[in-house]
Amino acid sequence: MELYLYIALFAPLVGSLFSALFTATPKASITGYIASGLLFTSFVSSAILLNYVMGGHTVHVEMMTWMATGDLYIPFGFVVDQVSVVMMMVVTIVSTVVHVYSIGYMDHDKGFNRFFAWLSAFVFSMMVLVMSDNFAGLFIGWEGVGLCSWGLIGFWYHKESATWAANEAFIMNRIADLGMLIGIFLIYWNVGSLQYDVVFAEVGNLQPVIITWIGIFLFIGAMGKSAQFPLHTWLADAMEGPTPVSALIHAATMVTAGVYLVVRANPIYDLIPNVGIFIASLGAFVALFAASMALVNRDMKRIIAYSTLSQLGYMFVAAGLGAYWVALFHLMAHAFFKALLFLGAGNVMHAMHDELDPFKMGGLRKVMKGTFVMMTLASVALAGIYPFAGFFSKDLILEVGFVEHHYVIYTVLLLTAGLTAFYSFRLVALIFHGEERYKLFGIHPHEAYKFMLVAMSPLLVLAIIAGSFKMTYYQLVINLLPSTQYHIHSATTFWIMTIGTQLFVILAILFAYKKYSNWNSVPDGTSKMEKSFGYKLLWNQYYIPKIYDEVFSKPYLELSKIAWKQIDLKIVDATVDAIANAIYKTGENTRDIQNGNLSSMLRWMVVGLVVLMTLAVAFNVGYNVFGA
């Protein structure tokens, strides 16, 4: 079994290294095939491990020692238990689909080989993060995915907007990682080890204040990775990267690392329910916040990105309220249909020659039937209609909120569900229905390659049927996670809630369709709605990026300028130059000693003689007077 663990872990690394050999050469399709093939083997290994774990066993290996100094002992250890195997399956399924899809998507790109190198490296880092058995390994994976995400967002490095977005993502993650590091330091300082089993056994014996701070700091790290407010601006800007990147990283894997951290550290968070309430509240706020921004956006990928942000809020609500298995389940279901949505958007982008404004599209269902079906079904799943996957996970979270008597959170999430349905179908309606506005711009769309649609189909299937896994999944993970069933005691309340939610969502969908399916013009900023304050506020993301720019970036830039001009140039450089100048001048001035005139040289000789003798006498006197 350990063999399968190592295969699942290292196969993506091999793929990445193989592709890395070709980064400087023109496109070689072999890199795509090999990378995808290796990821498929990783998927198969994960499936075998899933089978094994479902039989009630776990696999725990220690590969080698990393640090063993004094009291500190950190190994490279990996564990495959119920939680990590679920994550492994999600990651490998979505990664394999995205890799195969990318062979078609990046077909005409010059950086084809480099793309697969980065992509497989990302999957390897994510596997390390998920399979590690101690906080230090988690942090390695954490940083690794941050780095690969930087490389992939800024993949088209000639575009300044792309490099800026990549830097923004990396720096924001770094700021959050500081919090996480402090959390890890606190854990080590108080417990003495970073291994999960040791920490979780010991954490109950610590003082509540310490546990609270640990929880807070670890969550700060999660905030950066999962783009919770206020560290959320990087996620929307990360859409500068290629669409498969968005599908893999910003829908299914990297942004869910924060949720994984909270789920994994559930023994800690169980002891500090106040922090949990805060997490849940923040999650609910983010859900509503992101959904509001998606209502008016005119960038297709950004709408989907805000939708991801919103669903992450849902996951944190569940985790914060102690329903860890629910959060993980929603993570799994969301990964499938969100990745599908992104890949479909990629098809549309390719067809529309990288046009992103849905108002400039329209009526594409006549030309792109496959993509139309997939995106519509994915949106249905996202909206949470029975019997698709989203229903089982999202409604479960709503139930959790209701049962735990957090009615405010419940209302917020319900409202957000309606908004989610609205903007998802606004997007679908604008793109696929109505008049073919793209003809105004002379674009000739065509469907994507057949094999890309075939690659996307597993995700479609899973998005539809994932709900049926709920019971099996539940039986699996309660071996590790707290198993609270959320029952609404009165059956009538339950049915009113469920049917009511469904009706509300369906109404939102119909409203969107009515408004947008017959759109026939491209808005150009002059309509009354576009000039209204509310629209402007939402369009500019509540002006938060602007605030960050003014309050943080600009003063820091000024500070850097001062440090450069005043300190570096005037003080440091001047000092070094002064030393060099002093030596040079000394040389010039003592050049006269060697003027070729013998009598002056004899004079210097006598001077030297006198100096040496003085030194001899002085040292001798000193030696005799002051001691042996």
Binding site: M613, T614, V617
Partner: protein, 195 residues
């Protein structure tokens, strides 16, 4: 008592003579004063019981070295007074005094500490020459031989540097050439005299 008088007398004379040597502008006076100073120094050696050294001083220094300097002086054009550029007499004086003080200090220090052992002690019953001979040919044999080689080298060097017609080898020339060699023309003599 007697020794003290002799010491002070000869000390005064030596200092005066050497001062004349370094201060005068006439080369002839300088050389004469130098020779006198050498003789007085040998007097010191006799006072100190170093008879052999005193005799050597007179023979070698006053006899050979000063004679060499006299020949050299005659070779150069010394009718001209050499103009000494007075750069800064104070500095020169000060440096000299400082050096002297330092030397005294260095010499005095080990004696004050009373830590000195005699490696080759002076024996009272034999004469100085005998004692010097004994030490010279046993303990100091190697430096003695090396000094001899050095003197040989110096002699050869001196001859080569100062001699005329040194590019011709007398041993390799035939008899007739040597006998006809003296019949140089006036031009050759002029040319050979001044390179």
């Amino acid at each position: 008592m007697f020794e003290a008088i002799a010491f002070y007398l000869f000390a005064a004379l030596t200092i005066v003579m050497f001062t004349i040597t370094v201060m005068t502008s006439q080369a002839l006076y300088a050389i004469t004063a130098m020779a006198a100073g050498m003789i007085f120094i040998s007097a010191f050696f006799f006072i100190l019981g170093a008879d052999f050294l005193g005799a050597i001083q007179i023979i070698v220094y006053t006899g050979a070295v000063m004679a060499l300097y006299a020949f050299g002086m005659m070779f150069f054009d010394t009718t001209r007074d050499v103009v000494e550029k007075r750069t800064n007499p104070q500095i020169v004086f000060v440096l000299g005094v400082l050096a002297a003080v330092m030397v005294v200090a260095i010499f005095v220090a080990p004696i004050v500490s009373n830590n000195i052992q005699a490696l080759y002690p002076i024996q009272e019953n034999i004469g100085n020459s005998q004692a010097v001979g004994m030490v010279l040919f046993t303990k100091y044999l190697v430096p003695f031989e090396v000094a001899a080689v050095m003197l040989l080298v110096a002699m050869i060097g001196g001859i080569i540097l100062a001699g005329k017609k040194m590019d011709k080898s007398l041993t390799l020339m035939a008899e007739e050439e040597i006998t006809t060699m003296d019949d140089m023309t006036e031009e050759e003599a002029q040319a050979g005299g001044h390179h």
